[in-house]
Every structure is written in structure tokens, then in C-alpha cells.
């Protein structure tokens, strides 16, 4: 199996007032193509910082982070946005849908940035929404949808440019347990059926154990355990 993600002594430090915060302090980690990895830890452990670095939303202070062999630390901001657009699909705890756009428009937006023509992206948005079980709700705005439905829209959007890496930051954090199961089932299907690499940040050890095949536990910016199911 190919290595999909390769972090080497990755550090992310930043200043907060007078003190230096070591959000990530020397993380070395390999993620293989098609893995489902849970990043487990308490808040402030650095798991979200690591996810943001993988997403190309942030830059490391030190170290390298290669995605499919290309080091994100060396990329220009344009290359990083290209990485976000085509290599990764991001799913947030708070869904992060644009409230004034319909579900279909939200899904189509990232294809718009990718330069997909209108007819093609509208068709694909419809297909994707159907595949996550939202066939009849395409023209609803986020506030007309339940939390679970909003997260399904977000998943559809994350898939719109067919990335090979899905990054999920507490995807069920705002959902009840029943809806959480549905969302996790969707992610699991993406991993098992479509072969996507999934990295999920969570503070819930049970969730990690139930769905991920590998759990990386973090504390104070470092990895303290790495276990495969």
C-alpha cells in the first residue's frame, strides 16, 4: 500500500501574548492509502492542528508533511488552495455550510472554484446529494435542514471534486447519537466502498474504536500511542 500522508517531526508553534504555544511538537506519522485513522485526544492535544495542517489550511513551523509525496510546507498559497480544492474533502463539526445558499449550491460551490461548468456541477451536486440520502432536499437552505442533514450536505460537498483524502473534524460533535451513527456509517462506506483515506479527529474513544481501524492518541502536541484494531 502507498503512503498517503507522511509527517516528519512536524511542529506548529505560535505565540499567544507572551507565551509560546506548542500546539504540535514533533509529530511523525505515516498514513497509508485507504486507511481510516482516528486522531484521539483531549482539547488542546494538537489533533485539530494536525488535521488543519493536513488540509493545507495552516503551515507547519518546522518539519515536513507530504501528501502523496508532495510537501505541503513548501507549497505556495495558490498550491495550497489547489490542494484543498482537489486532494482533500473537509468535514467540520459545525458543518460550515453557506447559510444563504441551497444545499445544491453549497455542494456545487467547490466545483465552481475548480472551474466545472454550470450544467456539469449542478448534475453532479444532485447525484452526490442523492448518494448521501438527500434526494428531495436539494433546494433547501441550511436552516431548513436538521443537523444530520446539514452534515450530509457537507459530506456531499467534500466529495464533489473527488478527493482521495477525507478529513473530518469532530463530524458528529453537534449531532445526537442516532444521527451520529448514520453519519459515521457514511464515512465508513466512503472508506470501505470507495477506498478513500479518512482521517477523523475526535475526543470520543468509543467512536474511534467503533469505526476507525487505527487510533492515534495525542497529548500536548505529541503522539502518545498508535494502535491498530
Amino acid at each position: 500500500m502507498d503512503t498517503h500522508l507522511e509527517a516528519r517531526v512536524l511542529k506548529r508553534h505560535y505565540r499567544m501574548g507572551q507565551s509560546l504555544v506548542r500546539a504540535l511538537d514533533g509529530v511523525t506519522l505515516d498514513v497509508t492509502q485507504g486507511e481510516f485513522v482516528a486522531l484521539l485526544g483531549t482539547s488542546g492535544s494538537g489533533k485539530s492542528t494536525l488535521l488543519n495542517l493536513m488540509a493545507g489550511l495552516d503551515r507547519p513551523t518546522e518539519g515536513t508533511l507530504a501528501v502523496s509525496g508532495r510537501d505541503l510546507a513548501q507549497m505556495s498559497s495558490n498550491e495550497l488552495s489547489l490542494h484543498r480544492r482537489s486532494n482533500v474533502g473537509i468535514i467540520f463539526q459545525s458543518f460550515n455550510l453557506i447559510s444563504t445558499m441551497t444545499a445544491a449550491d453549497n455542494v456545487a460551490l467547490s466545483m465552481m472554484f475548480a472551474g466545472v461548468a454550470r450544467a456539469a456541477r449542478e448534475g453532479r451536486a444532485r447525484t452526490l446529494l442523492e448518494s448521501v440520502g438527500l434526494g428531495g432536499r436539494q433546494n433547501h437552505r441550511p436552516r431548513e435542514l436538521s443537523g444530520g442533514e446539514q452534515q450530509r450536505v457537507a459530506i456531499a460537498r467534500a466529495l464533489s471534486n473527488t478527493p482521495s483524502l477525507i478529513l473530518a473534524d469532530e463530524p458528529t460533535g453537534n449531532l445526537d447519537s442516532k444521527t451520529s451513527k448514520e453519519i459515521m456509517a457514511l464515512l465508513k462506506a466512503l472508506n470501505e466502498r470507495d477506498g478513500k483515506t479518512v482521517v477523523m479527529v475526535t475526543h470520543d474513544a468509543n467512536l474511534a474504536a467503533a469505526y476507525a481501524r487505527r487510533t492515534v492518541t495525542m497529548l500536548d502536541g505529541q503522539i502518545i500511542s498508535d494502535s491498530r484494531a
Partner: protein, 459 residues
């Protein structure tokens, strides 16, 4: 990102905040209206003035005055653009005053590109028509003036048939002064003119005095011209009340007492009589400056409409700039309105910008959306501003014409103070977009540089 998508996204964003967009656009519209209105006023005034020059139809004319005697002659139009003319004010003062006599006419007629030279004869006369009397100026018109300048539009009748008829043409303005009869009814009627002539005898010539005597002659009215005197009396565009063929006017001009000189100076002898001014007709208008140069080199003072027009145009450029600057103040204020609106909009949409960047929007995409928003405001503001400016101009124009009519019955009623040529419309809209883009560039850059993680935490 496809350009059309950027535009549709930007327009969608503007539509999200309709009130704010409308108010900002209105601000730009007022700014553009004031700018376009001011420039339009400048252009309108210029067209009014230049139009008067044009209607005098004397672009191919040069007026010649006697040579300079050292004292500055005011009408010469100093400070013309042409370098060769610049040193004119400092012409050698010792040059003797060169008289405008028949020798001078012959000399000037030999200058290249000169079509013809004729003296401007103007004699004060008393006109008698039936029981009515009025004072006027009699002038001689060469036959070459047929269909030229003011002789293009006759209220009644036609131009002189030939040089030998004792015919005259009147101006409509003079006709109204003279009689209440319709212009058409006067054609074919006779008028009697009377003027003072110097009786030259050897005795009084020796004394340096010629006692005046009254001479009367009769002329038949053949035509009445509509247009009143041109803008420039000296340029030969002036129409005096009564015009007769030049050849008829020569003998009258020779004996008439025109001014102080005719009485107190040496009585004019036919051989060396002088004229107050000459008119040169130049073959083509473009040759006017050259002819002026050459005639000046002969020792005469020249003056042409082109001189005055160039001076006037220079004044109008300055006027346009001043008016434009005043008009720009409102636009500057409204451009701050754009900055304010866009900065507010970025604050409101920080999270949305974060989302866009997180799902793959590049800095350029975000910047593009904001720049399109700004230029859309500029475009809409520009169009409505030009419309608004036009409307205000029409209203002021209407008021001005109404005022002119109320002050002076029969005065010009087609006064057009505001001109809105195509270049001004296009320029105003283009400028509006440009100003909006400049105003929007800072907010757009700020939006593009937002850190996506920070922006996503924003609520």
C-alpha cells in the same frame, strides 16, 4: 474559477444586502452625477461659444489691421500656442505704421494661399424707408460672399445678382428696427440712405479741413438675412444693418466721413486713401496660420477667428478641469462609501470567506469576487449617475431658457448649457468603475488574505 461564475457569485452577494448595495450605488450615482454634470456644463458652455464662432462662418478669414506702432494692440490674441507667434508682443517698436491702402491690398493679395483681399468699408448712415427712419451702418460685401457665412440663410429674397446693381441686403434685426412690415413684403422696395461726405476742394484741403455735406442715394432691397451680427465684429463676421455690393460701397467709403480722421486729417485723395481694416479670404482654413505669419512679416497686424477660438478653447480646458475637480469631491466621498460598504461586508461574511477558502477557493478567487462586487456598484452607479446628471442638467437648462425668454422676448430659446456627448457618458461610467475598483481593492485584498482558520472560527 470561470469569470461568469465570479460575476454571478458577486451579484448574488450584492443581492443579499439589497439596501446597503442600493444606498452605496446611490452614493456613487450622486458622485458621478455631480462630476458628469460639471463636465457636461463645461462642454455645453464650450459648445455654445464655439458654436457662435462656427456660425459666423469665417474660419477662412483673416482680418488685417494697420501695422503695429509699438503700442500693444489688444485684440491680436497674444499667447497663442504656435511658437512663431509668441514673440509677437515684443515686435520691434521702431517699425513704422504701415497704412492699409491699395498698395497694401496688392501686396497681401500676392501672399500664397490668399484667395482674395477686400477692404472692410463701414459707413454710418441714416436710412429712410417710407415714413420711417433709422440709423445703421452701411458695409460693402464682395460678391464672393454668396452662400458664405450669414448669407446662407435668407429670411427673404436672395443675394446680390451682380456688382453693378444698386441693391442692398438688410439684417432681420435692422428690419424690425426700421418697420413693422413683414420681411417678405420689403423685397423690391427702395430705401434711401444718407451719409455725411467730405467736400474736398483745393482750398479746404490746404486748410486741412473739409466741411461735411449730406449725400443721399437710393438702393433696392433684394434680400434680408436672418442671422444677427457674428461674434467677432473685427473678423469680418459682423453684419451691419445695410449691406451693398462692395463695388457700390467703394465710392461711398472714399468720400464718407467715417471718423475724426476724415475731418481733421488730410482729406482723403482717391490715390492714397487708406482703410481701417481689410479682410483676407484664405483658400483653406488650414492655411490661415501661415497666411497670418506672412502678412505679419509684411508689417501688418492680423487677427483671425482661429486665434480667438484657440484662446477660448484653452480657457475651456481650464474651466473643465476646475469643474471636474469640484464634481470629483462628491465622487471621492462616495468612493469612501464603497470602501465602508465592502469592509462591512467582509466583516459580515468573514466565515463565508473562510468556508470558501477551506473548500478550495484561492486568494485570487476571493479577491475577484470582491472586485467584481465593487465594479458592479461602480457600473450601476455610473449609469444611474449619468442619467441623474442628465436629468438635473435638463431641469436647469429648462429653467435657464425659461428665464432668458422671460427677460428678453425673442431671445435665444435653444440655449443648451449642458452637453452630454458619447465620450462623456462612456468616460463617466468607465471612471465610475475605475474609482470603485480602486476603492474596492483594499477590502478585496483584505478578504483574500484572511486566514481561513481564523475566518472559520468567526461568527
Amino acid at each position: 474559477m470561470i469569470v461568469s461564475d465570479t460575476i454571478s457569485l458577486a451579484l448574488r452577494n450584492l443581492g443579499q444586502a439589497k439596501l446597503r448595495t442600493t444606498l452605496t450605488t446611490l452614493g456613487v450615482a450622486i458622485g458621478i452625477a455631480s462630476l458628469a454634470g460639471m463636465v457636461s456644463l463645461g462642454v455645453g458652455l464650450e459648445e455654445q461659444t464655439v458654436g457662435r464662432f462656427m456660425s459666423s462662418g469665417v474660419f477662412d478669414s483673416v482680418t488685417v489691421l494697420p501695422g503695429q506702432t509699438g503700442g500693444a494692440f489688444g485684440l491680436g490674441g497674444r499667447g497663442r500656442g504656435r511658437g512663431a507667434n509668441r514673440d509677437r508682443g515684443t515686435a520691434p517698436p521702431e517699425t513704422p505704421r504701415k497704412p492699409l491702402d491699395d498698395a497694401a491690398i496688392a501686396e497681401i493679395a500676392a501672399v500664397p494661399d490668399v484667395k482674395e483681399v477686400y477692404p472692410n468699408i463701414a459707413v454710418p448712415i441714416e436710412v429712410q424707408f417710407e415714413q420711417e427712419q433709422a440709423f445703421a451702418t452701411l458695409s460693402g460685401v464682395p460678391l464672393s460672399q454668396r452662400d458664405q457665412g450669414a448669407f446662407q440663410t435668407f429670411a427673404a429674397g436672395t443675394f446680390f445678382a451682380d456688382d453693378s446693381t444698386r441693391a442692398c441686403i438688410l439684417t432681420l434685426e435692422f428690419v424690425r428696427r426700421l418697420t413693422t412690415k413683414a420681411a417678405q413684403a420689403l423685397i423690391g422696395q427702395d430705401i434711401t440712405i444718407g451719409y455725411a461726405a467730405a467736400a474736398v476742394t483745393p482750398a479746404n484741403a490746404a486748410a486741412g479741413m473739409a466741411p461735411p455735406r449730406r449725400v443721399t442715394q437710393s438702393f433696392t432691397i433684394v434680400g434680408i438675412v436672418e442671422r444677427p451680427g457674428g461674434a467677432l465684429p473685427l473678423a469680418g463676421g459682423n453684419l451691419s444693418g445695410v449691406m451693398i455690393p462692395l463695388e457700390q460701397a467703394r465710392p461711398i467709403g472714399a468720400e464718407a466721413i467715417v471718423g475724426r480722421q476724415s475731418i481733421l486729417g488730410t482729406p482723403p485723395a482717391a490715390a492714397n486713401r487708406t482703410y481701417n481694416s481689410l479682410t483676407i479670404k484664405v483658400r483653406r482654413a488650414a492655411a490661415v496660420p501661415d497666411v497670418q505669419e506672412r502678412v505679419k512679416a509684411l508689417g501688418f497686424t492680423t487677427f483671425s477667428v482661429q486665434d480667438a477660438l484657440e484662446n477660448a478653447k484653452r480657457v475651456f480646458v481650464i474651466l473643465d478641469i476646475v469643474l471636474g475637480l469640484i464634481g470629483s469631491i462628491a465622487l471621492a466621498v462616495s468612493s469612501l462609501g464603497i470602501v465602508n460598504t465592502m469592509v462591512m461586508s467582509i466583516l459580515e461574511r468573514t466565515r463565508e470567506i473562510g468556508i470558501m477558502k477551506a473548500i478550495g477557493g484561492s486568494d485570487a478567487d476571493v479577491r475577484g469576487i470582491f472586485l467584481v462586487e465593487a465594479s458592479a456598484i461602480g457600473f450601476l452607479g455610473g449609469i444611474s449617475g449619468v442619467g441623474l446628471g442628465w436629468l438635473v442638467g435638463r431641469v436647469i437648462n429648462f429653467g435657464a431658457n425659461w428665464y432668458v425668454r422671460s427677460q428678453q422676448a425673442g431671445g435665444p430659446t435653444d440655449l443648451n448649457l449642458f452637453a452630454l456627448p458619447l465620450w462623456l457618458i462612456g468616460g463617466a461610467i468607465g471612471f465610475s468603475i475605475l474609482v470603485s475598483l480602486i476603492a474596492g481593492s483594499y477590502p478585496a485584498r483584505r478578504a483574500a488574505r484572511l486566514d481561513p482558520i481564523q475566518a472559520l472560527r468567526h461568527d
